[in-house]
Every structure is written in C-alpha cells, then in structure tokens.
Subunit: 390 residues, 2 copies
C-alpha cells in the first residue's frame, strides 16, 4: 500500500507555481457543488467580473478556461487563425516560440520578429516586418508575450498594438506571468485577446487559464470559414457555457474555480496598484542584494520584469548544484534556464504571495551560502535598504 | 467587497461531479511543490502506476491529462486521426455524438453506427457497417462510449474490439463514467486507447482526464504524416513530459494531481472488485425502490449502468420542479435529461463516494415526497431488502 500523500514543504521562488496562501488552500478543500448548480453559476459570474477587473477590461467574454496557461495560448490562437491566415509573432524567448509552433499547427503562415533572448522587440522592427509582408496577405494578428518567463524581460505593448491595428490586425498578448503582478491594461492598450495562468502572480494553483476576448476578436471568430479545429477550446461553445445560456459543454474544474475566486478576492483586497508596487519594491531589493553578491542580470534594467529575475551563473559555478543545494538544504525552489540559457542562468521568481521581504532576504542568504560568498552581509544590507524605503 | 467563498452543502447524486471524500479534499489543501520538483516527479510515477491498475493495463503511456474528460476525448481522437482517415463511431447518446464532432474537426471521414438512445450497439451492426465501407478506406479506428452518461446504458465492448481489430482498426473507448465503478479491462478487452474523468467513480474533483495509449496507438501516432493539430494535447510531447525525460511542456495542475493520488489510493484500498460490487448493490437497491414508487427506467435491465440511472418522468409530473425541490429542500442534486431526453428523464448518479446505502434511501425518500407518492414506505422497504442481502 502506498502511503498517504506526504510532500515536502517548499518555498516557491521559481518561475511558477508561486506560493499559495492559506485562504486559497482552504477554498480548495471546500466540498463541491455541481457545475450547473445555481450557486456555481453565480460564482462563475463573480469570477468573470473579478477577472475583468484584473485584466482591466470590459470584455464580456472573460473567463477561466478549464486547462493550464498553455491551453489558453492555444485557445486564443486556434480560434483567431484559420489555414492560410498570416500571423506576425514576436519571439524573444520560449513562449514566443511556442506561439509560433501553435499558430503553424493551426495552418497559419507565420512571420517572426525575432530579437535575442533577454531583449524586447522595438516598435520599428515590427513596423518594418509588417511593411515587408505582401500587401494582400490576410494578416490576422500580431502577437507578443508581455512577460517572457524564460528571460525575465518585459515587452512594452502600446506601440506594438497601434502598429498592429494600423495594419488591420488583431493584437494578441500572453499575460501568463504578468497578470496580477504588473499592469496589464487590456482595454487601454488595445489588446484584442489575451490569456494568462493562475499559478504565477495570482498565487492560485495551476489548472486554469484566464482568457479575455474583445469584440473585434469575437467578430473574427464569427467570420471564420472553418470550424475551430479544437472542440474543447472552441470559443463559440465556451461562450455559451460561460455565458447566460449555460449550455452544457464540459464539466468545469469546480474546485479550481473556488480557488481562483478566493485568490482574486485577495488580489483586489490588496488592490492592483499596491500589488504592482509590492512586486517592484521586492524586485529592486532582490536586485540590490544580487548585485552586492557580484551577480549580474542579463536583462537591461529598464526591461526587467518585477516578478521574474534571470540571474547569470558566474563562471565556474555549478548551476545545477546551487539549485539543488537551495532545494535540499532549505526547501527553496528557484528555476533553471531554458533553451539557449540552460545552465547559464537561474530564474528567481517573486510572484504573488512569494513576493515578500522574507523571501528576498532568504534567497539572498541561501545564494550567498551556496556560492561561498563573503558578501552575505552586504547583500542583506543592500536589500534591507530598499525594503526600508517608503 | 465580495464575501468569502460560501457555497451550499450539496449531496451530489447527478451525472458528476460525485461526492469527494474528506481525505481527498484535505489533499487539495496541501501546500504546493513545483511541477519539476523531485518529489512531484516521484508522485507522478505513483499516479501513473495507480492509473494503470485502475485501467487494468500495462500501457506505459498512462497518465492524467491536464484538463477535463472532454479534453481527454479530444486528445485521443486528434492524436490518432489525420485528415482523410476514416473512423467508425458508435452513437447512442450525447458522448458518442461528441466523438463524431471532434473526429470530423480533425478532418476524419466519420461513419456512425447509430442506435436509439438507451440502447447499445449490437456487434452485427458494427460488422455490417464495416463491411459497407470501401475496402481501401484507411479505417484508423472504431470508437465507442463504455458508459453513456446521457442514458445510463453500458456498451459491451469485447466483441466490438475483436471486430475492429479484424479490420485492422484501433479500438478507442470512452470510460469517463465507468472507470473505478465498473470493470474496465483495457488490456484484456484489447482497448488501444481510452480516456476518463476524475469526477465520476474516482470521486476526485473535475479537472484531469486519465488517459492510456497502447503500443499500437502510439505506433499510429509516430507514423503520422502531419503534426497533431493540438500542441497542448500532442501525445508525443506529453510522453516526454510524463515520461522519464521530464521535458518541460506545460505546468501540471499540481493540486489536482495530489487529489487524484489520494482518490486512487482510496479506490485501491477498497479494491476494484469490492468497489464494483458496491456500485451494483446500491444500483439494485435504488432500482427496487424506484420500481416500488412506480417509476420506470428507459434502459433494459441487462444494459443498465450501476453508477448512472436514467429514470422516466411520469406523465403529468413537472420534471424541473422535482429536481428543484430536491435541490432546494434537501440539497440533493440529481441530473436532468439531455438532448432528446430533456424533460423526459432524471439521471440519478451513485458514483464513487456517492454510492452509499444512505444516499439510496435519501433519494428515494426525497423523490417519494416530491412526487406525493404513498409508496415511500414500500420503496424504502424494497431498497432495504437489497441492501441487507449478502
């Protein structure tokens, strides 16, 4: 016989999942109601409304898709793209690359705007790429990752959005890692469709993907010549299930919706602006400490994300050994590099409930120890100075 | 400000979700580890092994897909079918019809074997359908729903499997409602691929879809000419994530996997055979009581599922009114009819933890009250007689 579930205590400072607070964990142990129960229908409405506030959008079709963030990416792309459509996708890390792969599987002709990992796409680069497309190419969308989790770079979006719209294309944004941790202004920035995840700055377990579709995006879906290739992700069907009709489609992950409700309540009790400021402050404290340890970040300061920090592994240091020491000695998870950055960076996440002064100090102290650094005191002092400032 | 999550207490006797026991709910409030944590990797192996025991298969590729049962259906079909492939799908309710829709979206030519709702497909019917296909049609698979949740009929599978294999086709089975509640013999019955759900007889919240692929099915996937249209559901990629390589694909819903582990432990502590016998006994007790109330079941006795009972609404009775009365007065959820059976049947589920003597008596008593029946005592007596038997 296998033993009762018995998992170690971890402090989650990687690229997600982030720490999940007691009130959200408690929500997950709530006995279930049916997914068509009047009380669940009412809860779905409240979750939709909370997500609209979080995405800062009035989009009617805003709901948590019943799968993880990558399925949200797929849902947005396969609903908006048909075979033969053109898509322009900005790529500066893993997740832009994933969008390319998914768009191509949907039959789209994809043109990429590629910049080196850690950098962000310049508006002129996009403008030139669009100018180079055949004038009659049916350009359906321009897509970008807002917070590239593989590098820790934040892509400015407003100008990209304007350029996409000037060309008559929809503007699609991956907000998996940014939502709830940095400003995401779906309406103000003219984002036509976006998808996120629950396990990053919302501090909810993974399992749902908040998505939002504006009216222009929905008009595109309605004008499709072919059915969406995915039945599970078909927004026309999901709209009826999550809309006022409540037409049975699938069985929503009830418990996950409970958890998301409670995590979104926590987000809005704190307030989005206060939450963003908290992420920035702890990020700055972490960076001050890392620099005092002699560690460098590969992303230029003005493009750094507040919730995900890539840190260069110094020459001669065993990247995996340091991560293992943090995990085994202290129960601290930090992330490894992906793709071309494998073995070259660590990724330290301070997302949602993980973004605390205690975690800033802890990860600095643990890194100093693992690296055998004599600068532990200086690092903690540098971090404390930022933390103590108003 | 919205109030803390506050949902009513329900007794779940509908088509799913079923009741989730305290140990599984408790598992869901466990603080998370990362999805690449060594402890989670070990847990994934244990869950895969427990699922193999539940499906009664040695299939290496057996794992919980990170979405609900309908996504499991889509995963199996879109991996095995390519545009132009032929598929033969048995249809006797909603879920067979859903398979047809998904297979067509995958570009397959679908031939249906249709029988009226509540009936099951006869082997000769399938044989004739296959004989009527063009001899050179690339028939990739024959698919059937084992336990049709919309009707409560159980499809015998062994002969269908033989017939499919004789024609060189794979045999695909929907075991969403049967797994853990009635025998599912993936290896002994020659099932090449199957998908299930967590929220039926496994008594785990909805959110994952246990799937299993045999070697013949995987060989088909490897021989594909085109990439699988869905990146999220691509078995080639999922195999690397759930296999020994642990290649990052998406972030598994960690908490749901905790819950599934604990629910599968409970399944195997009880023992599959004991569990099946429990479902049968409580089903028989329920039916005895329903008949004493003068209620009839639309499915022939030999084809009835033990975990899902369709019950004909007597003439002149307000179908929705009875369901509402059960819900509002007693907190009992039973299901409505779907499609052509809308307004004509109730669906009473006794799945997993919901299959108890107490729930049999309770739903009979509540139905008798709602119907104003004078036969309540007789119904309870008839049920008790079955429950008391060895």
């Amino acid at each position: 016989m296998l033993s009762e579930l018995n998992v170690p205590r971890r402090i989650l400072l990687g690229p997600g999942p982030s720490e999940v607070g007691p009130r959200v964990l408690r929500a997950m142990s709530t006995p279930l109601v049916g997914h068509l129960d009047p009380s669940f229908v009412a809860l779905m409405e409240e979750v939709k409304d909370l997500l609209r506030q979080t995405f800062r959008t009035a989009n009617r079709l805003t709901f948590p898709l019943s799968a993880t963030g990558s399925a949200g990416m797929e849902a947005v792309l396969v609903n908006l793209l048909e075979p033969g459509d053109h898509a322009v996708i900005c790529v500066n890390g893993v997740f832009g690359g994933r969008m390319v792969e998914i768009a191509r599987r949907a039959g789209a002709e994809v043109t990429t705007v590629e910049v080196p990992w850690g950098e962000v796409v310049d508006a002129d680069h996009l403008r030139k790429t669009l100018a180079g497309l055949p004038a009659n190419a049916p350009l359906r969308l321009v897509a970008s990752v807002h917070a590239e989790t593989s590098t820790g770079a934040r892509q400015p979006l407003e100008e990209l959005s304007r350029i996409a719209h000037e060309r008559g294309a929809l503007f699609v944004v991956d907000t998996v890692t940014s939502l709830g941790g940095a400003p995401v202004e779906v309406d103000a920035w003219g984002i036509d469709a976006s998808y996120s995840g629950t396990q990053k700055c919302l501090s909810c377990p993974p399992g749902l993907s908040p998505v939002t579709f504006g009216e222009a995006a929905l008009a595109r879906v309605r004008a499709r010549k072919h059915k969406v290739q995915s039945w599970y992700l078909d927004v026309g069907l999901l709209e009826q299930y999550w809309g006022t009709d409540r037409v049975y489609h699938h069985t929503a992950p009830i418990t996950m919706v409970y958890a998301l409700y409670e995590s979104l309540r926590a987000v809005h009790e704190e307030g989005l602006d206060a939450r963003f400021a908290r992420h920035v402050k702890h990020h700055r404290a972490l960076v001050a400490g890392l620099e005092a340890l002699g560690l460098a970040l590969p992303v230029a300061a003005q493009h750094r994300l507040p919730m995900l920090n890539a840190v260069l592994v110094p020459d001669g240091v065993d990247e995996g050994g340091v991560r293992r020491r943090l995990l085994e000695r202290h129960g601290i998870e930090i992330g490894a590099g992906l793709g071309p950055w494998k073995g070259k960076v660590w990724r330290i996440g301070l997302m949602g409930d993980s973004s605390t002064p205690a975690n800033v100090l802890l990860v600095l102290a643990a890194l100093a120890e693992a690296l055998g650094s004599a600068a532990a005191g200086a690092a903690l002092g540098a971090a404390e100075q930022v933390l103590a400032a108003d």
